[in-house]
């Protein structure tokens, strides 16, 4: 990509085509921005020469709200950040507060948490796949993806009564026991799901339009990915085999066998392959976990009023989008002094500019899709 040239004697930059650069606002109501994201594109013809994101349309001040709620009261709010992966948000928050308190959830609770969180990863990746494919013009996958996602949401609904913003976990463990037939339903879903992933792959993986639209598009190198703090499937598609579930195991992940998929090209196609493989691995974890749920209590003995000793903690989990961290400062009262959420979507979105430079306008749609952002989490 050539740099825009400056006209001698003028401060108006001219482009390769000799025409002026134009500014194109994509969003905040563009269907492929998955919410209210506005990307201001600087274009040379159809090539993108620069971009800037305008975010904050969904800002609700979650971190400020936390300072006015007790530790338990704040737990449902975190579900509203990444609302397609609410269970993962809840897990991160509950574990962070547990670490702050110095308690640990009982083994049974940890295994049930692992199962529900892995199902959530599958559900979140299904939403990503459905919308990403839809953006690029593959209309079919959304019907299949939402069919399987529905099964997961039904399991959530039976477990805790909610489908999306579940508030499934409590600080110290779980509020609810698993329902009768929980194991069988999870098992049956996982058994069916293996062939379902193959089905999605037959639609896309070797589809010429799909490969044409994704291969070599939105390349993020390994060095850039690390410097930009990108985590999750995006980092793994750039050649870094790093997953918090292995690097710093939490919940019950140290008990299960699973692989971390990694690809090296760092383009949209590789990110697609990494996420597809992650769904298979999540299914594998669920199948292992569901056969051996230990018996015992589901709640650690913590009081009704939580007063963590003064101090601070940073705890992070591998959410479907990347590293979701909670930095909580306690001053010894019942309300957190400060809750900072390290949102994977926000930090991954910062890499968008690096990926769209030199791409075509139509590729921007693919690149936003592959970043897998949820604006509720970007803006908090």
């Amino acid at each position: 990509m050539e740099e825009p040239r400056k006209n001698p004697g003028s401060n108006v930059s001219t482009t390769v085509l000799g025409a002026d650069e134009i500014i194109l606002n994509m969003g905040p109501q563009h269907p492929s921005t998955h919410g209210v994201l506005r990307v201001k594109l600087k274009l040379d013809g159809e090539r993108v020469v620069g971009s800037e994101c305008y975010i904050g349309y969904l800002h609700r001040g979650v971190e400020k709200i936390a300072e006015h709620r007790s530790y338990q009261q704040f737990a449902p709010y975190v579900d509203r950040m990444d609302y397609v992966a609410a269970v993962s948000n809840g897990l991160g928050y509950c574990e962070a507060v547990e670490k702050l308190l110095g308690v640990e959830a009982p083994p049974r609770a940890r295994v049930v948490r692992t199962i529900l969180t892995e199902l959530q990863r599958i559900a979140s990746h299904l939403v990503w796949l459905a919308t990403h494919a839809l953006d690029i013009g593959a209309l079919t996958p959304i019907f299949y993806c939402f069919r399987e996602r529905e099964e997961i949401l039904k399991i959530y609904e039976k477990y805790c009564g909610a489908r999306l913003t579940t508030h499934a976990f409590r600080i110290g463990g779980l509020q609810y026991e698993t329902y009768d037939g929980f194991e069988n339903e999870v098992k049956r879903f996982c058994q069916d799901f293996g062939s379902r992933i193959d089905e999605y792959e037959t639609l896309l993986t070797e589809n010429r339009i799909w490969t044409g639209r994704t291969k070599g598009v939105g390349i993020l190198t390994r060095e850039d990915a690390i410097a930009l703090g990108v985590t999750g499937p995006m980092l793994r598609a750039s050649g870094v085999q790093w997953d918090l579930r292995k690097a710093m195991p939490y919940a019950a992940y140290d008990q299960y066998q699973f692989d971390i998929p990694v690809r090296n090209a760092g383009d949209t196609y590789d990110r697609y392959l990494v996420r597809m493989e992650e769904m298979r691995q999540s299914r594998r974890i669920c199948l292992q976990a569901v056969d051996n749920i230990p018996s015992g209590p589901i709640m650690a003995r913590i009081g009704k009023v939580l007063k963590p000793p003064p101090g601070e903690v940073y705890h992070s989990i591998e959410a479907p989008k990347g590293e979701l961290g909670y930095y909580i400062v306690s001053d010894g009262t019942t309300q957190p002094y400060r809750v900072r959420v390290r949102p994977p979507s926000f930090i991954n979105l910062q890499a968008l500019d690096r990926m769209v430079r030199g791409a075509l306008v139509a590729d921007v749609v693919a690149i936003i899709g592959t970043t897998d952002i949820v604006l509720g989490e970007v803006d908090r």
Binding site: I55, G56, H59, G61, E63, K64, K99, L100, G102, V103, P106, R108, K158, Y176, E177, T178, Y179, D180, G181, F182, E183, N184, D224, I226, A227, L228, G229, V240, W242, A247, M248, D291, N292, I293, P294, S295, G296, P297, I298, M299, A300, R301, P309, G311, E312, V313, Y314, S316, G325, Y327, V329, Y337, R338, R340, R342, F346, I347, Q350, D379, R380
Partner: protein, 229 residues
């Protein structure tokens, strides 16, 4: 909560069967049932809901303790008194550094100590302190699989060196910090609000920010009534 009739659930039988066999043993008999059925999994039906774990032995509450290791020693030899304090809180290393040396220390951590990723950059407001802000950087090293938290104290209106040229990731994080706390990062390429509108007044995550003030003002101006909040 209907159960699929096609499903056979063998594990749910033992509790039912044993209850029939010994109907009047609610006390000591009851806990024996789940453990008998335990190897086959399916404890859900057997375990009474909301059972709690046995009381853990009382431990001393976690407290920040002074911390020293080779990394801290190396940092101290390089930067001397700029490394103000090193503590360990809940097994997490925290190093408090002088604000003037922040960028150099960061660059050193990235290049020589292999903390190659800036995970998070944020701030905490302690309005009663002389230097009210803690700027907190969470670093991670892929090579060592270790985290390090750098902290520096900054007074209101005191500029903090930007670490954008050390980690590109700091760009938006510092903008958010500026937006929420009003901390000015010196050397940031484009320091402006990121989540709030440009015309917003105040910095919401400061402890002395009045959450209702702007709301009541808006209601009074636009609706001509007093806000009910």
């Amino acid at each position: 909560m209907t159960k699929n009739p096609l499903e056979k659930d063998p594990a749910s039988k033992p509790p039912g069967g044993s209850a029939e066999g010994s109907p009047a043993s609610p006390g000591p008999g009851a806990p024996a049932t789940p453990s008998a059925a335990a190897p086959q999994s399916k404890p859900a039906a057997a375990v009474p809901p909301k059972a709690s774990a046995p009381v853990p032995p009382k431990e001393a509450p976690p407290k920040p303790t002074p911390f020293d290791n080779e990394l801290i020693q190396r940092l101290k030899t390089h930067f001397g008194t700029s490394i103000i304090e090193a503590t360990l809180d809940r097994k997490e290393a925290i190093v408090i550094v002088a604000v003037s040396q922040l960028r150099d220390i960061c660059r050193h951590c990235r290049d020589d100590e292999k903390f190659d990723m800036l995970v998070d950059l944020t701030a905490v407001d302690w309005p009663k302190r002389e230097k009210r802000f803690d700027v907190v950087l969470n670093l991670y090293s892929f090579a060592k699989n270790e985290r390090l938290r750098l902290k520096t104290h900054a007074a209101d209106k005191e500029s903090v060196p930007s670490v954008c040229d050390v980690w590109v990731a700091a760009n938006w994080l510092e903008r958010e910090c500026f937006d929420m706390f009003g901390i000015v990062f010196d050397g940031h390429p484009d320091l402006k609000r990121i989540l709030l509108p440009d015309e917003w007044e105040g910095h919401p995550l400061r402890k002395d920010y009045d959450i209702l003030k702007q709301d009541t003002a808006w209601v009074r101006e636009n609706l001509g009534i007093e806000s009910g909040q």
